[in-house]
Symmetry: C2
Subunit: 222 residues, 2 copies
DNA sequence: CATTGATCAATGATCGATCATATTGCTCCC
DNA sequence: GGGAGCAATATGATCGATCATTGATCAATG
């Protein structure tokens, strides 16, 4: 969404404010605007993001922009220093690599918690995995990524620990995977075969399943 | 800190703005004010926290209060709905119990990553643990809690994964432990003996150490 | 020529006021 | 009585303006 259409989109949003998930407010929209700017290369890593410049450009005030930047700080997409504003975080390979052990650890825990309940969900997981295989065949990379992550999200949510889910979501896997693909030309994975092995382990409630999931996640790591 | 002394304290802070770690800004101070209000029982769980009321009381404007509330939302201490403001999160036993598996999983991962380097830090850990034992003898519960958590923090930081550290810190262990002690009269632990066992495992780089740490953390759980 | 201090522009931090929404309480009609 | 409007109020969301800090520039000084 370019700046030109921002106000129009805002109006549309106000009119359709029925879905609570969309009633997210200005700052969420500005956040998406900035995210797109970063992924599209409008701001280079390390470059400053000036609150008032964005505010003027979008025809909003400084407040919501500020709020959006704080949210992006929590996603580790920008960093900011007191009284010196925000800049795009100059993420290195090392930054990207740090995600995998954390994610692997969380998902191992998730699998441990979810194991008794996972057997009942293997059907859903298999439907998922079938769609992943289709996406891989048709070469739809974004869809492949989404479905692959959804598989893991399903496991995490089955654990039934809301904090765990929230921490896992805060890693922003989709965002960082997209950035990683775009900025580092990382090879895309076609993991539906590995997922199938995991699903079988879930089905028989294999006590090794958490470790298998852990190792599977670590194999994404560069 | 009561509201009466807030402005005076603020002035004092402005004058001594030399330490960069203290130059945290208004919202951080307001955040602490609200945290103290919650721990002291000024706001009951579930009660609304009205932005403008706090702003008026502290002689500041709505903005920084809003920002403070967003930070507390990230700590899961308050929850907020769009257009309907913030309220103290009515944390249940279940909420508190959800922390332990997440923390245990993170620390197991930390220990795995830190294992090669932990042997070099056992001296520091032992000094820590000695002080913990002293605090336990003298019955200084808050100090006992701080030192005990610091032991774990040391392990997490030794892993050398900044994301892991940041995620672990975001759990707000000190805060939630304090609240748990205050609100639920949970029994306090004297864990320096268990810590000693862990330190020995670190010293010999026992591959079982990560699992031992995991189980140790889970034993805190209610 | 390096260093120090003054000045200024840029911009983050904060403020006071206004707009928009949710809630409350009241009226009126069935 | 009781529910469907409807006004009044409380308060979150946003705005436009001001204050305060930072970093750059440059002159004065040793």
């Amino acid at each position: 969404m370019g700046a030109a259409g921002f106000r129009a989109a805002l109006y549309h949003w106000r009119v359709n404010a029925s879905d609570p998930l969309l009633r997210t407010g200005l700052s969420a929209q500005i956040r998406e605007f900035i995210v797109e700017g970063i992924t599209a290369g409008r701001w280079e890593p390390g470059e400053r993001i000036v609150e008032r410049r964005i505010a003027t450009e979008l025809g909003v005030s400084q407040g919501p922009v500020r709020e959006a930047l704080r949210q992006l700080e929590a996603l580790r997409l920008v960093e900011s220093l007191p009284n010196r504003g925000a800049r795009v975080r100059p993420f290195t390979e090392e930054d990207l690599g740090e995600i995998f052990p954390v994610r692997a650890g969380l998902e191992r825990t998730a699998a441990e918690l979810a194991l008794p309940r996972l057997a009942a969900r293997v059907d859903a997981l298999e439907r998922h995995n079938r769609r992943l295989a289709e996406a891989a065949e048709s070469g739809d990379l974004p869809e492949q990524m989404r479905l692959s992550i959804d598989f893991h999200r399903e496991v995490v949510e089955t654990a039934g620990n809301r904090l765990l889910t929230s921490v896992w979501e805060s890693l922003g896997i989709e965002l960082w995977t997209t950035l990683s693909l775009r900025l580092h030309q990382t090879e895309i994975y076609s993991k539906s075969a590995e997922h199938a092995v995991l699903i079988e382990a879930f089905r028989r409630q294999d006590p090794e399943a958490p470790r298998m999931l852990h190792d599977h996640v670590m194999n994404y790591a560069p």
